[in-house]
């Protein structure tokens, strides 16, 4: 392109020089002037071609840049894909036993079960076991490591939310969501700067209280949620009573402490009832005897009066009316006879 243009410039220069020469020799030639005009036109065309060339070149540069950018992007994507593939390959996945049995259950059964066990699997609202939910919790992958390190042994994964147990996360769908508590609340709600929420204020006041007051005011203070049976449960269970019988040298088989107790109570009740019955009978007998005695006394009295009457009628003897001590002769029959 440069050569092309240079040639045209030279041609223009030559034509110009020739024309000047001819003018200097006072012999201007029309032909030379036309040659100059021709050369100028050629140069102009050349310049136009140069412009096109430059434009094309700029475009080529631009396309090259684009290509480079796209190449970089492609490389990046491939790199990312490679990294991702590596990550996916390294991810620990739960291995479900391929040939393990599958158990059928209905939603109702699942929900019933969730409701039944929810007191044992869901902590009461406000009980956090000292876990601070404001800070990001460690990922589940880190926890077993900590547990294993703490134990000084390579005990396998001890996470409770782990693998293929059907009841791993039992109440997830069945249990009602727990209302968020204390400090948790202030972090979940967007608040304007400088605004102190009622909850956080209250919680800060509560946390400033002396321990003695805390126990009295905050119900859940010191309460912990234990996701397994506690010692009290273990000590008061059926196995404990089993052991108690063994300790007393009683064969637990077929021996029911409740039934024994029941039988003892029944015997006691029967004995008491018998005693009561005997007492009532005795009283009844006494009452009857008393009545009998009274009846006999009345009978005797009547007989005596009758005999007196009959005696007077038969003999015609009328005993003289007693003016004195009349009421005494009832007890002393001998005086009259």
């Amino acid at each position: 392109m440069d050569k092309n243009l240079d040639a045209r410039f030279e041609r223009v220069e030559k034509a110009l020089a020739n024309l000047i020469d001819s003018i200097a020799k006072y012999n201007p030639s029309e032909k030379l002037a036309e040659g100059l005009v021709e050369a100028d036109k050629e140069l102009f065309k050349g310049l136009q071609a140069l412009e096109t060339h430059q434009n094309n070149y700029a475009r080529i540069q631009q396309l090259r840049e684009e290509t480079a950018a796209l190449d970089a992007q492609t490389k990046e994507i491939i790199g990312a894909l490679w990294t991702m593939r590596k990550e996916v390959k390294n991810t620990q996945t739960t291995v479900y036993p391929a040939s393990g049995p599958k158990y059928q259950f209905t939603t109702k059964e699942l929900l019933d079960y969730a409701r039944r066990i929810s007191p044992n699997t869901l902590p009461p609202p406000g009980v956090t076991n000292g876990v601070d939910f404001g800070t990001p919790t460690p990922t589940p992958a880190e926890q077993p490591d900590d547990a294993a390190k703490g134990g000084g042994a390579q005990t396998p994964n001890t996470s409770f939310n782990g693998t293929g147990t059907a009841a791993g996360t039992p109440a997830a769908s069945g249990a009602p969501p727990t209302p968020s508590v204390n400090g948790d609340m202030s972090s979940t709600h967007a608040q304007p700067p400088g605004f102190v929420s009622q909850t956080s204020l209250t919680s800060s006041i509560l946390s400033d209280l002396p321990p003695l007051f805390k126990q009295a005011i905050i119900i859940d203070e010191g309460a912990v949620f234990v996701p397994w049976p506690d010692e009290f449960y273990i000590r008061s269970g059926a196995l404990a009573s089993y052991q108690a019988l063994v300790d007393r040298n009683i064969d637990p088989k077929g021996y029911d402490p409740e039934e024994e107790e029941q039988r003892r109570k029944e015997e006691e009740a029967a004995r008491k009832e018998a005693e009561e019955k005997a007492r009532i009978e005795r009283e009844e007998a006494e009452r009857r005897m008393r009545e009998e005695r009274e009846r006999m006394a009345r009978e005797r009295e009547r007989n005596r009066a009758e005999a007196e009457r009959r005696g007077s009628v038969a003999t015609g003897f009328v005993p003289p009316p007693k003016t004195q001590f009349t009421f005494l002769d009832a007890g002393d029959d001998d005086d009259d006879d």
Partner: protein, 131 residues
């Protein structure tokens, strides 16, 4: 806590799981409870790390018959027994771990017990917040 589980374990030298409660009409009773009730209670107690430690300290995990009993107790991982577990997570996890010799040896360590307790209590309040 005493050695009740040993007596329960040895007295039930059967390999067949007990029948479900609705079929318990004529089940023999041991100290007022059926075999189903006793074994359910025992398997639930295994959820408590301290109890495991207690069992380890009484050297139960060294007895072959007790290990066989632990193996037998795995019927709790299957229906229809599964749904009677009151503390399913820790119970099943510990039952699974107890099948391993390594865990049976390690649980004597108070550090491991403390780690299990700490983690269990932490998980107990955290698991439902992750969703």
């Amino acid at each position: 806590m005493s050695s009740e589980q040993a007596s329960a374990g040895s007295s039930t030298n059967v390999k067949v799981p007990p029948p479900e409660p609705n079929a318990l009409a004529n089940e023999p009773k041991y100290a007022g409870s059926t075999r189903f009730e006793l074994e359910l209670e025992f398997v639930s107690m295994l959820a408590n790390p301290k109890y495991l430690n207690h069992l380890a300290s009484r050297k139960f995990f060294e007895k072959p018959e007790f290990i066989a009993y632990l193996k037998y107790l795995q019927y709790w991982t299957r229906p229809p027994y599964l749904k009677y577990l009151q503390w399913p997570g820790p119970t099943l996890k510990h039952l699974e771990l107890l099948q391993q010799e390594k865990f049976r040896q390690d649980i004597i360590s108070p550090d491991l017990v403390q780690a299990l307790i700490a983690e269990g209590m932490k998980t107990g309040v955290e698991w439902h917040r992750k969703a």
